[in-house]
């Protein structure tokens, strides 16, 4: 690889060919102010704040999209930069309607950060025009907060959806929606919006309301691997154990690990797959864990509807199984509420779908994002939280699924063992060529080659979907997570540095009461059909 030597503020640094100034600076902990810049997408370079001057070149240049060249001498701070940046920041801010109290970005507000760093006096300004839009039951957009950086349009296009667009009306750019397109609620617009113009549709008020009523039996569920970012956000003393206790303090009657339902699905999915294989069906089976992916297929590739697994998603099965149990115990259905917590916006849409109902009840009554959870928990006193007991808290001591690969791996393993009667060896995933973040593996079962793919990101999955349209047997099993960084990078994630978020979630130290878990999640085929199968519901 070609190494290039450059100087930033007099420091001699090395970088790769095609690397941006911003990248090199970040890597070397040199702070360059930037608003629209996001590591994981192509720089829009629209805010014009990440300005640097380059020796021998006229004017100022944006660090996010200027590639380094051998011998380049860069300055990140001088009077000219400061003056221009301040003007541009003031111009941006004149468009942004400050509404910090209710803003989901308030703890990670780039605008406030920059104001602080630049010693900029923010005069509160009301924007002149405002359009509010709501996309289904999941996402809302407030144009008065929008600074027209275009990140949302880019990520929506990257997702292969293209629902959002920039429209120019009388010289003003507006974010609008494309006729004939549908939002899949993946929420990537939320995670990439620097000004908090996109937010999840909040269920906090309703959740508070049901928690406040004595007769209600409220059950929370979450996947323990998913909440570490939130714990980090809440403070050093937070972990899975305190998180579970905090839910009890909020008024939860029961707390469950969603991954109990993943176990159920893995088991059932491998059975479904065996029956397909037995019938020698040459057809790809798509997982249906991710509601944005399911919606994407149903909306944009309806001819592949049949490929979608008939199994409901884990949190839906988890909710229905718990309700099933509680009803059997004589509780009244209208008093039972299940609330799931995930870094996901599309679940808000999913839980309202016909197939998410279990009889006349919703399997899950509310779906909260991590961001909403933060709002609910941030003011709790950790001392009080830790006084709570673990009664009716059912969290696995170790999270068995550290990634989507783990879930798929477990499924294939079970499938293999069931079909071959012997243990599968190590299953290794290799990269799918031409598809970023795509993994695949092959196993031979009963002489038949089974090809399994995992893809993160709808835009990338689109490539495989197109391949499958030509040859429906190109893959036998396909797991897709709509968000390019998987569930952890979902639209409902908190807004800290995503790079540092991982599944690594430590241990749950509470007691393990497996007898009740077993009772709830051991479903007969007949029960599973009612609880976990979408057949006839769409």
């Amino acid at each position: 690889m070609d190494k290039l030597t450059i100087k930033i503020n007099g420091h001699v640094l090395q970088g790769e060919k095609n690397e941006s100034i911003m990248n090199v600076a970040n890597r070397n902990r040199i702070d360059i102010i930037g608003l629209c810049y996001c590591k994981d997408i192509k720089p829009e370079s629209s805010c014009r704040l990440c300005l640097v001057s380059i020796k021998g070149r006229k004017g100022l240049h944006t660090a996010c999209n200027t590639k380094i060249e051998e011998g380049m001498e860069i300055e990140t701070e001088n009077e000219e930069i400061k003056k221009t940046r301040n003007t541009n920041f003031e111009l941006i801010f004149s468009k942004h309607c400050q509404n910090c109290i209710s803003c989901r970005r308030k703890n990670h507000c780039k605008i406030l950060d920059i104001a602080k760093k630049c010693d900029f006096d923010l005069k509160k300004k009301k924007s002149t025009f405002s359009t509010k839009m709501q996309f289904g039951p999941a996402i809302s957009f407030d144009s008065s907060k929008c600074i027209n950086c275009n990140n949302c349009v880019q990520v929506c296009n990257n997702q292969g959806v293209g629902f959002l667009q920039k429209e120019r009306i009388d010289g003003f750019s507006k974010i609008t929606t494309c006729k004939g397109k549908e939002c899949v609620f993946c929420g990537q617009c939320l995670s990439h919006c620097p000004s908090g113009a996109f937010e999840e549709v909040s269920s906090i008020a309703e959740v508070k309301n049901i928690l406040g009523k004595k007769n209600n039996h409220v059950v929370f569920q979450f996947s323990s691997g998913m909440i570490m970012s939130l714990c980090k956000e809440l403070g050093d003393r937070w972990d899975i154990s305190s998180f579970s206790r905090a839910l009890k303090l909020l008024g939860a009657d029961m707390v469950f690990d969603t991954s109990y339902a993943v176990d159920v699905i893995v088991e059932k999915e491998s059975s479904a797959f065996i029956s397909r294989a037995a019938n020698n069906e040459k057809k790809c089976l798509f997982t249906s864990h991710c509601p944005a992916w399911v919606r994407y297929i149903k909306t944009y590739h309806p001819e592949l509807n049949d490929c979608l697994s008939k199994n409901k998603s884990p949190h839906i099965i988890c909710g229905a199984s718990i309700k099933n149990y509680l009803l059997k115990k004589g509780m009244k259905g209208e008093n039972i509420y299940v609330i799931s917590i995930a870094p996901c916006t599309s679940k808000k849409f999913e839980i309202l779908g016909k197939s998410s109902f279990w009889g006349k009840y919703k399997s899950v009554d509310f779906s909260l994002t991590l961001s909403e959870m933060y709002t609910l928990l941030k003011d709790l006193d950790i001392e009080k939280v830790n006084e709570q007991d673990f009664k009716n808290v059912f969290i696995k001591s170790i999270n068995p699924y550290n990634s989507n690969e783990d879930i798929v791996r477990m499924g294939i393993k079970l499938f293999y063992e069931k079909t071959m009667g012997s243990e599968a060896g190590g299953i290794e995933f290799k990269k799918i060529s031409g598809i970023e973040n795509g993994l695949e593996t092959e196993i031979i079962s009963n002489g038949r080659k089974i090809r399994v793919g995992i893809v993160y990101g709808l835009g990338r999955a689109k490539k495989i979907v197109n391949d499958l349209k030509k040859d429906i047997g190109a893959y036998d099993y396909l797991e897709v997570m709509a968000c390019p960084k998987g569930c952890l990078g979902g639209g409902g994630q908190t807004l800290g540095d995503l790079e540092e978020i991982s599944y690594s979630c430590g241990y749950f130290v509470g007691p393990q009461d497996n007898s009740l878990v077993k009772e709830i999640f051991t479903l007969t085929d007949e029960e599973f059909k009612k609880i976990g199968n979408t057949d006839g519901l769409d």
Partner: protein, 326 residues
């Protein structure tokens, strides 16, 4: 043959007439030295609606323009040429053009309704490729990395007309001047290149008998007082006359800011927000000079393409010269 064409253009001293003033032979030469599939684009976006100089040329010399384009296609052995026309030109000339062009070699392309920025050369490439009206960064220059990432030669309508004249041996070092605004004899005139602005005004019978100033080079042009008119022309051949006593300076700034506000692509902050701020101040007739200077400084220093820089230049020249004292 090849050397011959480049040499002929070089000897003529022709510079691009689209406003950039780049040496025509050099552009052709660079494009000819590239490898791979090549494209030719004739830019007929003509964002200067009032002067519509390119329209005048096409009304009178459409065959010459097409000959110029064809010559470029043949010379570069180009895959194809696009004749990019603003929508009214497209409607007006499509029939006449369809009779004289080889459709396999030249495609007439209608400029979408995206404002002035739709005439910027990298935007034209984006638009033809089916993308949005957003500029690309330069370098790479189009002669190396243009349409579909291939070497692309883009010239303005007038430049292709001149090329045709040069190749036919009929070029007489003339150019088209459009005189607009408060002029008695508005129109497009073909006159020698080396005339001063004053010469052009006098020869066309347009030299005002009132106190005046002019804007040279179209909407992005600079402003001059009569005593400064002994300069030669470079850039776009548009002279706009203003009656100094009658012009409302605030209104003119408002008009300019509105044009830039509506014509830019909205990518960068200073264009997207800055012109509107200036527009608002002009509308209220209350200038915060410090704020305006800040915006113009930022446009010059931090806009992505030449739209912001050019617009700042034009506004600066008006505010610092014509409207020096408020």
């Amino acid at each position: 043959m090849e050397k011959d064409i480049i040499e002929k253009i070089r000897e003529s001293g022709l510079r691009g007439r689209g406003g950039g003033n780049f040496e025509a032979w050099l552009k052709w030469d660079i494009a000819s030295k590239q490898n791979g599939r090549k494209y030719v684009i004739c830019n007929g976006a003509d964002g200067e609606i009032e002067s519509s100089k390119d329209g005048y040329i096409m009304d009178n010399y459409l065959d010459d323009v097409v000959f110029g384009i064809k010559s470029a296609v043949d010379f570069l052995n180009a895959e194809k040429a696009y004749f990019y026309l603003r929508s009214d030109y497209f409607e007006k000339y499509k029939e006449r053009l369809s009779k004289i062009i080889d459709k396999d070699k030249i495609e007439i392309f209608k400029k979408p309704d995206v404002g002035y920025i739709g005439g910027e050369e990298t935007v034209i490439c984006e638009v033809i490729e089916g993308g949005g009206a957003f500029p690309r960064s330069k370098p790479p220059f189009l002669t190396k990395d243009g349409l579909y990432g291939m070497p692309t030669l883009i010239n303005n309508v007038e430049t292709f007309y001149c090329i045709s004249k040069i190749l036919k041996g009929e070029y007489k070092n003339k150019r088209f001047f459009s005189v607009i605004g408060n002029a008695t004899k508005k129109g497009v005139y073909e006159l020698p290149c080396d005339l001063t602005i004053e010469d052009v005004l006098r020869k066309t019978g347009n030299y005002p008998d009132f106190k005046f100033f002019v804007r040279i080079g179209g909407k992005f042009g600079s402003f001059y007082f009569p005593k400064e008119l002994s300069i030669n022309f470079s850039g776009l051949g548009v002279i706009e006359i203003f009656d100094q006593e009658r012009v409302d300076n605030f209104e003119l700034v408002q008009e300019m800011a509105e044009f830039f506000h509506k014509g830019n692509c909205d990518k960068c902050t200073p264009c997207r927000e800055g012109f509107f701020e200036i527009y608002e101040m002009a509308r209220k007739k209350e200038f915060d000079r410090e704020k305006i200077n800040g915006i113009l400084f930022s446009l010059e220093n931090s806009s992505f393409c030449y739209f912001g820089k050019g617009a700042a230049n034009s506004l600066n020249s008006f505010l610092k010269k014509i409207m020096k004292n408020g």
